[in-house]
Amino acid sequence: MSENRPPDPLARLGEEIDKARAERVRRQPVVGDRSAMQQGLGLGVRIGIELVVAIVVSTGLGWAIDRWFGTRPWGMIVLFFLGVAAGMLNVYRAVTGVRGPVGYRSSDAGTTAPKGQWDDEDC
């Protein structure tokens, strides 16, 4: 929080806190699992709806296009299959790139900053 370097007693306090934290982590190895569980839960909740919504929305879009342009069955048919593909693509990406970005590129942005990197100095 402060911009200049902390005075000595503060640095010592920081060291002590770090040591105590390390001690606690060592004594309870279960704690590390929590962030993984949180991510797993988040992911599970995410992908459940992804496929369904993709299909429903794009089929609806196809129906609307048909209404506007009078191309009766074709817009709906084409967009239904595109929607299935898009939904599967979304699910596939969500599953394969849990921490990484949703796109295609290799995970360069997603793997930075391991947990616990944040200190008061960074804020």
Binding site: G42, V45, G83, A86, A109, A113, C123
Partner: protein, 243 residues
């Protein structure tokens, strides 16, 4: 003595202060009221938490700092350092959804995030904002997001529409996920509560289930806020760290 169960009644939007401006209904509803409370509570938490600037934080300050660090950490690890300039937006979004969800859990209140209008408005803001950020940052190059690399030109005819569609579907999945979870959860609570009220002494069993469901709903409330915001982060990351 049949008790009528109307589990969806709780989602009725009522006009507290009817107001029409130029033929448009802009009444102050119970949803608007709950959102006002959510905003005020978030503001109060942050104001209280940052009032003292104590080196060793008190309870309020800890709470404020914890939420700050949680979101800052999320932005840092999902978007990268360039994403920190969007931290205020992400933080506001997270706190608002979290408080709206939790306020919905208070008996006799109103689940704002169970309204598709609210969640879709939030998702649309995210979607439009992310698109603008991408276009401002990369200009015309932003359209390369829809063109996967290393693919034969023939397949592009098929792949680009799929990419485009999967991009345009984002606001829908984002809003429907939050809305459907809150709606389903609260409806389920109301149904089980109705059972408990209508079958007399045996109502103790649905009541027990309801207690467990309330715990589940608290989890869902926090989790859905988290999911909404982490997806916002991922979308931002897409727009900022373009390939």
């Amino acid at each position: 003595m049949a008790i009528e169960i109307r589990p969806l009644e709780q989602f009725t939007v009522e006009r507290l202060i009817p107001l029409h401006i130029g033929g448009v209904d802009v009444s102050y509803t119970n949803a608007a009221f709950l959102m006002t409370i959510a905003v005020m509570l978030v503001t109060a938490l942050i104001m209280l938490g940052t009032r003292k600037h104590a080196l060793i934080p008190g309870r309020w300050q800890s709470l404020a700092e914890m939420s700050y660090e949680f979101v800052a950490d999320m932005v840092e690890s999902n978007v990268g350092h360039a994403g920190q300039q969007f931290f205020p937006f992400v933080f506001t979004l997270f706190m608002f959804i979290l408080f709206a969800n939790f306020l919905g859990m208070v008996p006799y209140s109103f689940a704002v995030t169970g309204q598709i209008v609210v969640t879709f408005a939030l998702a649309a803001v995210v979607f439009i904002g992310v698109t603008i950020v991408g276009i401002v940052r990369h200009g015309f190059h932003f359209l390369r997001l829809f063109v996967p690399q290393g693919v034969p030109a023939v397949l592009l005819i098929l792949l680009v529409p799929i990419e485009l569609l999967s991009y345009c579907i984002r606001p829908f999945t984002l809003s429907i996920r939050l809305f459907a979870n809150i709606l389903a959860g609260h409806t389920m609570l109301a149904i089980f509560a109705g059972f408990a009220a209508s079958i007399g002494l045996f109502g103790i069993f649905p009541l027990g289930i309801n207690i467990l469901l309330v715990a589940l709903e608290v989890l869902v409330a926090a989790l859905q806020a988290y999911v909404f915001v982490i997806l916002t982060c991922l979308y931002l990351s897409d727009a900022i760290n373009l390939h």
